[in-house]
Symmetry: C2
Subunit: 588 residues, 2 copies
Amino acid sequence: MALKAQVLYDFTAEPGNNELTVKEGETVTITNQHIGGGWIEAQNSRGDVGLVPIDYVELNKSALPSFPAAGTAAPAAGVGNIVNSDLSFFDAFAPTSTQQNQANSNGNDPWSAWNADPSAGASNNSASNPDGTQTGRAAAGDSWGVAAQGHPQAYQGPGAEDDEWDDEWDDKSTAGYGEVESGDGNAMQRGGAHASMKLKFPGFSKSGPELYLLCKQIAKGKDKLPIYMGEVGPVWLYPESQLDCVVADPKKGSKMYGLKSYIEYQITPNTTNRPVNHRYKHFDWLYERLLDKFGSAIPIPSLPDKQVTGRFEEEFIKMRMERLQGWMSRMCRHPVIASSEVFQLFLTYKDEKDWKTGKRKAEKDETVGVMIFTTIEPEAADLDPIEVEQKCEQFNRFTKAMDDGVKEILTVGHEHWKRCTGPLPKEYQRIGKAFQNLSSVFTSSGYQGEETLTDAMTAAGKTYEEIAQLVAEQPKKDLHFLMETNNEYKGLLGCFPDTIGVHKAAIDKVKEGDKLVATNKITPQEKVTMAKRVSTMSYALQAEMNHFHSNRIYDYNRVMQLYLEEQVKFYETIAAKLRQAHSQFTTM
Amino acid sequence: MALKAQVLYDFTAEPGNNELTVKEGETVTITNQHIGGGWIEAQNSRGDVGLVPIDYVELNKSALPSFPAAGTAAPAAGVGNIVNSDLSFFDAFAPTSTQQNQANSNGNDPWSAWNADPSAGASNNSASNPDGTQTGRAAAGDSWGVAAQGHPQAYQGPGAEDDEWDDEWDDKSTAGYGEVESGDGNAMQRGGAHASMKLKFPGFSKSGPELYLLCKQIAKGKDKLPIYMGEVGPVWLYPESQLDCVVADPKKGSKMYGLKSYIEYQITPNTTNRPVNHRYKHFDWLYERLLDKFGSAIPIPSLPDKQVTGRFEEEFIKMRMERLQGWMSRMCRHPVIASSEVFQLFLTYKDEKDWKTGKRKAEKDETVGVMIFTTIEPEAADLDPIEVEQKCEQFNRFTKAMDDGVKEILTVGHEHWKRCTGPLPKEYQRIGKAFQNLSSVFTSSGYQGEETLTDAMTAAGKTYEEIAQLVAEQPKKDLHFLMETNNEYKGLLGCFPDTIGVHKAAIDKVKEGDKLVATNKITPQEKVTMAKRVSTMSYALQAEMNHFHSNRIYDYNRVMQLYLEEQVKFYETIAAKLRQAHSQFTTM
């Protein structure tokens, strides 16, 4: 059955780039979903075929009656807020769209809270609002609400293939993150300071960093997270052998007598070498737990985008698996996460009972949000609050700058992807055809003895057709990985403003310590404790930054090598083909 | 002084292709004339800079007051007819424009006279018009007239640097071809059946092929052009050693106390090894003589386009010299032309007196137009008129098909040129910049020991900037020659309809032989003579086609090799650079 899609926004084709001009509201037929680079191939009602940005269309639920979207008239539902479409999986390379996704968890501009003048931003954040960055969070929540409102998926009828969100889940309260898509249609309830928000933004709903800065009791024993002084400064405790796992073998399962189906992945950790099965919603549950427990100290990157339409489609499953693998590998590489009980449970549960017990325990964990800092124990002396603030500012500047750099690569890579899969191979093909056509004219000359020339020209023409194909296929061999890595980093960097925000809020609290003492809000002793604790937080941040840096160096070294290696092969293959074509001409 | 230009037609920039949208009548500043590929770089009044097709603008005569063009309101002066602009030299690669230039000598569609049904076209050409293809010629002349009318260059004020057309020339009557540009502004007098047209279209003004078919006397002696039966069929008599010449050393000369200046080229034939000097107008005179004398039997390609503005500009002189060299080499390679008295005079005149004497003699030559066939002596038996017609049709089909093939290569090459010099290097540059930017962010991390990575990433970035430059410069190294050769062939092929037209007209005359005898227009003996002579013409055409084919095979073999060779080097250079960049990363 032909896959139809609704055009969400006007798009004007760039001439000569194999694109298709579409108008908002138009219905097009998807002729190729696997273009990559944020594009799909579509055909309009006049039969014209061309590329359209994937985030400009929305796939129709084929077998379902479509209900009019309630509330589409809301003027706030602008282009920028309508995100996370059915096909958003394909958006990974489309900076505009993924940037929007980022906005979902971090507000419209995750960096906007941090301007060039640190004091201005700081006083803004705490003095005027005791709840720290709650303002920013609420705005982000709002944007979520508006986004869902403009998104037809929230109004899906019953019976949709949407098992990840509509089937029973033992603890309702944990469904928060996915709720937007599983709601009863009134997604607006998600906006503002909703009760379930504490699950998403742990550090803030529990009334900010002072919860930790002023808490009486500090956890003891086996839960401790020591921080050592390494060569590069504060570092986490790294295990002797690196945990890793393989995500593989996706299988379609079903329940409710086949009425509901889902994909189950097999995850095999290198420690036990015993596979466990998990569905996407289990990964999502794990993500929620990690965010809840470690989010204030460690940026937890989002899972690969959810997707409903075409969920069982081979290409999509492969891509989701690749990204789940990337996410799991990153989590395994983090010493704190890898050794956490909840992560170990996910990887090594023995049976259903073991899993359920562990699950309930994890959900009852109280060392979440800023309280994670109670478990951190730096070996070094306390830091001066000024030094703490400087370090925090430095990390903020760096992550922001890197975010810009990563986005630049994504933008350029996206453009390049488009050129390499669209106009460029088309042009090589035309060159190839032109050589072959002229050769075939030559063959018709009736003149004797020009077979050497015409054969050689035909071969040269075919070579350019082969080059066209090489060019079109190349991005999947090299640019893909460069884009995936940068995309992953974009996601990771997008979490930093939240994490750094927790630190900023704590620093601001400490800075107003004198005032708080003067107004009898805290005792002088508590002020001392706060300074000590903000120092502990800073060690955690430094350890996390050092972890980030070492991973970054590893990842970029690896991906740049892979990219250049494949590029070398690509150009060498073309050169060899052309050399072969050249050799067929007569030397004169 | 900034070079200003007037925009002739609206042009809408293709997004992302470094183009500039311009409106008819707008004045732009030319910022780079040497883009090549039919493009110039221009800046509009808002400061935007981008590429504009060269034939969409017209350079202002900087130092001159501009006179309003009389007759610009003529509706016939449509876009298609306004050609041969000041900058038409640059148009060489712009198929639209050169196609128009072709139209100047061959009518708007040189192939239109020859449709699929040979008899229809034939009867059209002769039966209804005793003057054979004169109709087509007159139309071509008209198109010239209209073209000049729409072209401001014809209305240049006095004092223009236009020495090629405005200085004294010993025999006024020979200035015909250039007259359009040297006229007093009323270029319309050039349209229609003008007196001087006989000089341009020799075979027809002398009342068609019957002049030869029915002439009493056939030339004897040293002027004979024998045709032998070679392996491939009828061939011209080829000399033992190939004539060639070198066009070099362009020098600026002046006359009238420096008021007029011109460029003189040095031409050294390999026979005497003694250089002679010639100006462009001398080449043009030679072209006229060759067209006059041999045009009915041998396609004489036009000289490289004339150009007024920037005539002394280095790049232009180099390009014109390259093309004059190409034209001269092609003439030298033709056994009939190379051995002709007028061509030998041009190459080997001893002194001014020798030149003037030879010049006058050449201009008085009566064996011109169709009369050239009186000098041809085939060694083989007479051909059957049906065979003659079949051969003629075959050549016509071939040259038309090749013309299409050549134009396809030019169109594709033109597009490719634009991409290689515009958006593609820009993109590689952006990739290079993105890598370098990210590398510089990494350098600011404060993390120890990542110099290897950042140095390698910077080097990779610089490599992509180098690749950008390689890509942008490549077309001048390979595509240029492919384009030049095809452009030359396009010119040559554009002459075939005229040459073949002479044969067609002769065949048609012979076909109505019975009717002519019946109506006492000719005697039965004359009918026999006509058949014999059309057979001689056919041998000449076959010899010419065989000459064309052997040159074509040589030329395309050579240019394809050169193209592929340079392409191999190009891709290998890139691969080597990337390999070098790759080696700078740490192996893991």
